[in-house]
């Protein structure tokens, strides 16, 4: 029973407007009910925590400097980078699993028709599904922040880096989530939606990594005396796009510029003829690209759902 007091307390909740979306509310209720949400969170933290411990043991052994002291900064960076990498790996695999069944599951449980004959707009359906899945992924990411922060004990890592890594992870989750919902809307089978989502993700990762490596190799193979600034620009942009389409390369490149140039938002690129140019840091390009792509995929999904069976 809701008492007037409890009602006024609920209305202070900043998430209230989001919970007006009936699908989001229903999904969150369903997701957090029972032991499943707790078990997934525990397993996730155990995996991340376990790896961190192993890395700490291995790292302390490897980073002994000649003086016999542990190089705290290096160990801190290794630990931080590894935790982020593990999180990235888990987010990449968990997010699609949460969203690829979102619409196809409604078909499989024969509830989709009931939903379609209500006044619920398609964008609210898609948003609700996505929001509830991402809210849980966000919970996983926030829960792992203490593990990332162990790196602070050793130094070498700044709070900005933690925030940037969180942003990149979140952008990754948003994009992969929308891709999962898209395939879930496209096919009426959850298994097929899962496979299609993972195949898409693996393809993106392989193509971007291969593209970035090839572009880098070509750029290094250029003869500085004969190559023009124009072709260098071209290769730089191609490489940049490949790097910024892949969260892992984005994080590595961002980290590299941060360590080498100590700048957070931009970096300097020096051409072979000695001129330099200032470019935005990869994490900015990545975040914008992934958010724009997410919006595009979101609209493709709602457009597909609006179609009435012919």
């Amino acid at each position: 029973m809701e008492t007037p007091a409890s009602r006024s307390r609920i209305q202070l909740n900043p998430l209230r407007p989001l919970l007006r979306n009936p699908v989001a509310l229903k999904e969150l209720r369903g997701r957090m009910r029972g032991p499943r949400a707790f078990v997934v969170l525990t397993c996730y933290l155990m995996v991340v925590g376990g790896f961190t411990t192993l890395l700490y043991i291995a790292g302390t052994a490897a980073t002994y400097s000649t003086s016999g002291e542990v190089d705290g900064g290096t160990l801190g960076r290794v630990l931080f980078g590894s935790v982020v990498a593990i999180e990235l790996f888990l987010v990449t695999f968990i997010t699609p699993a949460f969203t690829a069944g979102s619409i196809s599951g409604e078909h499989e449980s024969q509830t989709y028709d009931l939903l379609r004959t209500t006044l619920l707009p398609e964008r609210q359906l898609v948003f609700g599904k996505l929001f509830s899945a991402l809210a849980y992924v966000l919970l996983l990411l926030l829960a792992a922040i203490p593990l990332q922060s162990i790196a602070f004990l050793f130094g070498g890592v700044d709070i900005e880096e933690v925030l940037i890594s969180l942003l990149v992870l979140l952008a990754t989750a948003i994009f992969l989530g929308t891709v999962g919902v898209y395939y879930s809307a496209l096919t009426h089978r959850t298994l097929r939606a899962n496979i299609m989502t993972y195949v898409t993700i693996l393809t993106v990762i392989l193509i971007t990594t291969a593209g970035a490596v090839i572009a880098l190799a070509v750029a290094e193979g250029l003869n500085p005396s004969t190559s023009s600034t124009g072709s260098e620009w071209f290769l730089l942009i191609v490489r940049g796009i490949f790097v910024c389409l892949n969260p892992l390369t984005t994080l590595l490149a961002t980290q590299q510029y941060l360590v080498n140039q100590q700048t957070l938002f931009t970096f300097q690129y020096t051409f072979s003829n000695g001129t330099t140019t200032t470019l935005p840091s990869p994490w900015i390009v990545f975040t914008i690209l992934y958010l724009v792509l997410s919006v595009v995929v979101f609209f493709l999904t709602t457009r597909h759902l609006k179609r009435i069976e012919g």
Partner: protein
Amino acid sequence: MSIDTPEEKVIETPSGEAATETPVLTEVLPELPTVIDEQDLIIETRNLSKRYGRLQAINNLTLQVPRGAIYGFVGPNGAGKTSTMRILTTLMKPSSGEAYINGHSVVSAPREVRRSIGYMPDFFGVYEDMKVWEYLDFFAACYEIPEAQRPGLINDLLELVDLAHRRDDMVDKLSRGMKQRLCLARTLAHDPQVLILDEPASGLDPRARIEIRELLIELAKMGKTIFFSSHILADVNEICTHIGIIEAGQMVAQGPIKAMRQQLMPHRVLIITLLGRLDDAKEALLHVEGVQGIVDLPPEEGKTRIKVEFTGEDLRMSEMLQALTSKGIPVVNFAEESSDLEAVFMKATKGIVS
């Protein structure tokens, strides 16, 4: 015309158990005060067709459901009932033709149509990880019912479908009949004018079937138009004011149930059981005006039975009884055969399934 009770008070249901529980229904029926204007159509289709590849699922279907009717949509499996309902509920586009609900086209104004209808499919799932009240709250929100109104609405709906005591139970703990009633409550969340129910009684045990039937009558009394499909002619016979028979995608007959009976079965049928003097009885009956023919039926428990086909009003039946008793013929049972809807159905359909 006004809704009358079917003339036959003795209703044969497939199971004797069901028959003993039906009096509740026959008591509520006369209370239906609605006057149905046959011209005021709330569901209307014109030359509606649906083709799946080479299969013609619906063929030039013209459906007319007057406001306030309980319309039974009857036909063999595969006749096109579900396809028609999916078009009416905006889930599927027709290949050609038009369909209107409450004056709104299902193709060009689907939102208005959805606002006017409550739909229950033949097979549906319920979200298993929800409580009963959360389930209704979710759908009420989907129908844009303001949050402040929902708790009251949910209680009213649960009261109506007799599930108030299960308010806080998980949906998957409910029996099939209860889930069906919960789904019916869900269709009512936005107070629609038309209920489109695909086989609402299928797969239910006799008690649950009767409960659903009572509920439909209750809803009709609240002024809702009910358009439902069914295989079970007994259900249709008992509660419908109108009936449409579909076969191979075509409407073979439709209209008020009484008119349909008269149109398709001009003869009324009377079963008389005698202790003897069969020939005298036949002789006496043949002299009564309107008697068309007499057929011998196989005797039951040693008693002679005859089937009399006749035309005309109830007065003829009284005359027949008088003719028999005035001659001292031992009549032990004298009743009009009530399951004539089955005969109507058999006569209207040809057993074609597309």
